[in-house]
């Protein structure tokens, strides 16, 4: 479990996060949603320590992550996997080398063991046989899957995904969502997904945190999000005229 307590972040005079307190649960797909500029990415990066909060604490289990020394932070990070918006695959490495990188860096596995683990992860993301391809030789959806494979190769306890569906067609986006949800459940990972994709919200949103102007506006799940009386959330979820008509007819 990850717990954020009164997280505030200010860049100069601009207050981006205004005191967010929430929890993210193991074995569930936890979603952070909100409009562009609501502070989702800053919040996610604060949770993983890429941004230092102005105020507040992040707890991984019982450990106060924000109070740790750099070397202790790195130890916890070995339990963290992250899928970046642009996948962040190393261009000069093949798919296999990309996924193997954390194993090369942190384990004493033999070459055969590493290859087996890489192939196992590729199998999990349904991407067998692309070991020797370079990221530039793969599609956006494949790159996301490779990114997920790399994120889970060290069997992390925590998985962070920053806009995993950005730039993907709706069908591929659903495949990626389902993949993340399956991995989360199978491995009992605490997964936190930063998204504004409604398919994700309604498909895999088991614990949804809705941010608005740097504040936590609403918390619930995918069933509750449809029936919530919160006007700001409702405006966000049913943004288009078409969805508003659907809401008026069905909810």
């Amino acid at each position: 479990m990850i717990k954020a307590v009164n997280i505030k972040k200010q860049f100069g005079d601009v207050k981006v996060l205004k005191g967010i307190t929430t929890e993210f649960y193991a074995g569930k797909t936890n979603l952070i949603i909100g409009r562009s500029g609501a502070g989702k990415t800053v919040f996610l990066k604060t949770l993983v320590g890429l941004i230092i909060p102005t105020e507040g604490d992040v707890f991984y289990g019982d450990t106060n992550f924000t109070k740790l020394e750099e070397t202790e932070i790195r130890k916890i990070r070995m339990d963290i996997g992250m899928l970046f918006q642009g996948s962040a695959l190393f261009d000069s490495m093949t798919v296999e080398e990309n996924i193997r990188f954390p194993l090369d860096m942190f384990t004493n596995m033999t070459k055969k063991e590493k290859l087996d683990q890489v192939n196992f992860c590729l199998e999990r993301v349904e991407l067998e046989g692309v070991n020797d391809r370079y990221p530039s030789e793969t599609s956006g959806g494949m790159q996301k899957r490779v990114g997920i494979a790399r994120a889970i190769v060290l069997n992390p306890k925590y998985l962070f995904c920053d806009e995993p569906n950005s730039g993907l067609d709706p069908k591929t986006a659903i495949v990626i969502d389902e993949l993340i949800q399956r991995i989360t459940r199978d491995n009992n990972i605490t997964t936190i997904i930063n998204t504004h994709d409604m398919n994700s919200v309604l498909g895999i949103g088991e614990n949804i945190c809705f941010l608005n102007e740097g504040k936590l506006e609403w918390v619930g799940n995918k069933e509750e999000v449809l029936t919530s009386k919160n006007e700001i959330l409702s405006d966000f979820i049913f943004a288009s005229e078409f969805l508003k008509k659907v809401r008026d007819q069905h909810f």
Binding site: E70, R74, R77, M78, D91, F101, D104, M105, F160
Partner: protein, 233 residues
């Protein structure tokens, strides 16, 4: 800086990266070092020959002057100034590009000490390779002086060889290696710093790359003066 020199997560990975950097900096820089060294040596010999033409100074002094200029000043300084442009800008662009594509963030999340993994191998490779390149440059510079002057009849081969063997101070070679070491350290750390802390888009990356070269060159020239003052006092 403390993070750069902290204990590596895995020596084999750092060694592999250091070897790659040695290849990039060393082998990759051979053509440009070869070219500039030959021509600088050639120009030095031809111009000294012209300047000493109507004086009573013996011709063999040209060999002596070329040798010491190459060893003390031209090989270390010119080579490192040129390599600040080639290697330094490349390092800043490489690391800066990784920052912009979130590669550095991805490594950080994995638990990698990115300051150490991305910078330390480059610093070590530079400290090992730069003195070799500078020594090669000095040799090529003297060779360039020979092939530009002797066949042209500016002075004889015997005169040039006599000059090369005269008044030799091994301490000058020590000065050359100190300069190579210091300049190599400056150009690597300044360039990596510029790349590592780049923010923004491609324009900022271009600026960082340019700043890496400009700041490296300024610091190399400043260090050149300080080393000259300290080691020849």
């Amino acid at each position: 800086m403390a993070q750069v020199f902290s204990k590596p997560e895995k020596f084999s990975m750092y060694w592999r990266e250091t070897a790659r950097q040695m290849d990039d900096i060393g082998i990759g820089s051979l053509p440009i070092v070869f070219l500039i060294s030959i021509f600088i040596g050639a120009v030095t010999a031809v111009q000294f020959s012209y300047q000493l033409g109507s004086t009573l100074i013996p011709r063999y002094y040209i060999g002596y002057i070329v040798r010491d200029m190459e060893i003390i000043e031209l090989a270390p300084t010119i080579t490192c100034l040129v390599l600040a442009g080639k290697v330094g800008s490349n390092m800043a662009a490489e690391i800066g590009g990784m920052r912009q594509k979130e590669h550095i963030d991805a490594m950080e999340i994995m638990g990698v000490n990115t300051a150490a993994f991305l910078i330390l191998p480059k610093v070590i490779a530079s400290l090992v390779v730069m003195p070799m390149l500078v020594a090669l440059s000095a040799f090529l510079g003297i060779f360039g002086a020979y092939i530009a002057s002797v066949p042209a009849g500016l002075f004889s081969s015997a005169e040039f060889t006599l000059g090369l063997r005269s008044f030799f101070e091994p301490y000058n070679v020590f000065i050359m290696f100190v300069k190579a070491f210091v300049f190599g350290y400056i150009l690597t750390t300044v360039s990596c710093y510029q790349g590592y802390h780049v923010k923004g888009g491609s324009i900022e990356l271009g600026k960082a790359s340019t700043q890496a070269v400009v700041y490296s060159d300024i610091l190399i020239l400043l260090a050149d003066y300080l080393i000259a003052v300290v080691l020849t006092a």
